[in-house]
Amino acid sequence: MISIPTAVDVAALKDTTLLNMGIFALFVAVTMVIVLRASRNNKTAADYYAAGRSFTGSQNGTAIAGDYLSAASFLGITGAIAINGYDGFMYSIGFLVAWLVALLLVAELLRNTGKFTMADVLSFRLKQRPVRIAAAISTLAVCFFYLLAQMAGAGSLISLLLGISDWGGQALVIMVVGALMIMYVLIGGMKGTTWVQIIKAILLIAGAAVMTLWVLAIYGFNLSSLLGAAVETSNNPNVLNPGLQYGKTETSKLDFMSLGLALVLGTAALPHVLMRFYTVPTAKEARKSVVWSIWLIGLFYLFTLVLGYGAAALVGADTIKAAPGGVNSAAPLLAFYLGGPLLLGFISAVAFATILAVVAGLTITAAASFAHDIYASVIAKGKADADTEVKVARRTVVVIGVMAILGGIFANGQNVAFLVALAFAVAASANLPTIIYSLFWRRFTTQGAVWSMYGGLASAIILIVLSPVVSGAKTSMIPGASFAIFPLSNPGIVSIPLAFLLGWLGTVLDKNLEDRSKQAEMEVRSLTGVGAEKAVDH
């Protein structure tokens, strides 16, 4: 028997605060025990950064899904479909298709040629110092933008889920979440982080599956009637058609192309995703990881299609927009409508766990890159022993954690949704061309890598600063000023081709040729996995 309440009483949400907190506390307690148990034998750098390469492909694939399905994906896409209909769905397709780039061109080759970080691969056959520094800088930039977006989003989530609307209270919750994250990463390293992501992914996908079946059951498992109900509630037949959000003007259409390009090419170059491929023992397991994550992520986005239209039909766009947290409240409100306080509490706890898990993954990636690429290779010139390197990494974790907390508190309430798209655009511009060139283009040189990475990074950031997201529009960060000479809010369509071009130009203009034997070694290692696989007994 499915009860169908007539309307969602948003005021009643506040009564569930204690329950939400209780379920979240339970999640923290359970994961903390697992992290403590898993981290007992964290000794070497490979243990700390790469979880001793001991995860299986299916475990790692689940963790990748946990890392990738951030609060922005779960709450953001469900909300986008609930409000903008089809255009929200289009957004999720870009996030999924992008994984084919990782599967076909990057994951296995990268697993075979690197050890801990993206810079390991990029500097393999080029000059260590300049390439490593550039790769570390772009890693830190991507992690910083992504991290800030997650932490700033925490504020609106807190007001929605915990009913805390004053600034001081929200700051306190952000501090608690940040401190928990630092503990997980300090104690558990990559192993602990991975377990948090695995558990979170299972809870998130299971919760979304239950809600999806529930919504479908209400409409007799008929997708067409669900869509019909969404049209009826919103009183707008266009929620089923493309263009509600991106089709307004020629500029917004171009903007969507630009966003699509950044999503599809950025995913396979996100440093925290790349680092996950080092936690498995072989390239075959790396392949299996991507296959698992494609299935899980694809399944999840199919759920969000039902959940988004379900929220549009059952809760209604007007109620969603009026609720604290706005668009992001679609999924929690739908949970409350379906399963009352208990389901809302579960979904809320999962949303918090999501922020925790994603932020932990970003923090360990940034810390590894700083300790391994900048400290050990550049500052200590390769003379630091592994213990010192891990010690530096742990200190970096604390520094980044504190920065994330402060960033979250001060960016709270700012319009920073563009930061996630910016992180993808920077990854696609600064990292992907160099990854592809160094894996597949024999002639590629250091100068090409450096031009492409700095050129891609700088052009992406400069174009964002000169775009309407920073100034010149009502929704800008600085609405008063107006220096928006670049019309698009996503720089990808310009910065990505530019970075590819710079990589090519820098190479053909480079008079120095790289070491032929290093190129041969990289190619042979990347395709055969020799030296990276466990050797067979002879």
């Binding site: 084919l100 008929n222 058609n241 493309p242 392949r287 042979v524």
Partner: protein, 126 residues
């Protein structure tokens, strides 16, 4: 488990240029590129064709096919289907065409078949 980073590197003594030049490695390289490049181009074209249609052919995408299900939704869902299909196809291609050759070459290197002259591990001549 715990420490599966192979140390010392079994391949340290190999002459990779020699391996690269072998017919077997060239075959592996050709098979790998022959699959991943066309496939990457194909799915990117298909994805951007879809985005362009959604951007500029709104009427076509809004055509109802069955009940409230329109062309746009079917094409969107078909993107999921092709993504899953390419994934499965790639895995089966690797299992059949790439992994066996890669393993053979790897075992050859690990068995010191390609060692540089004079750098043979365990060789007492130097």
């Amino acid at each position: 488990m715990g420490n599966s980073t192979p140390t010392p590197d079994v391949a340290a003594s190999a002459d990779f240029e020699e391996v690269q030049a072998t017919e077997q490695f060239q075959k592996l390289r050709k098979r790998h590129r022959g699959f991943v490049f066309p496939m990457a181009v194909a799915f990117l074209l298909w994805y951007f064709a879809y985005v362009l249609l959604a951007d500029y052919a709104v009427d076509f995408m809004s055509t109802k096919v069955w009940g409230n299900i329109n062309v746009g939704l079917i094409m969107g869902l078909f993107q999921f289907v092709t993504t899953f299909a390419i994934t499965g196809w790639y895995v089966s291609y690797c299992n059949r065409k790439l992994d066996p050759i890669a393993a053979e070459i790897r075992h050859g290197i690990e068995g010191h078949e390609f060692d540089k002259a004079g750098k043979r591990v365990g060789g007492g001549s130097k």
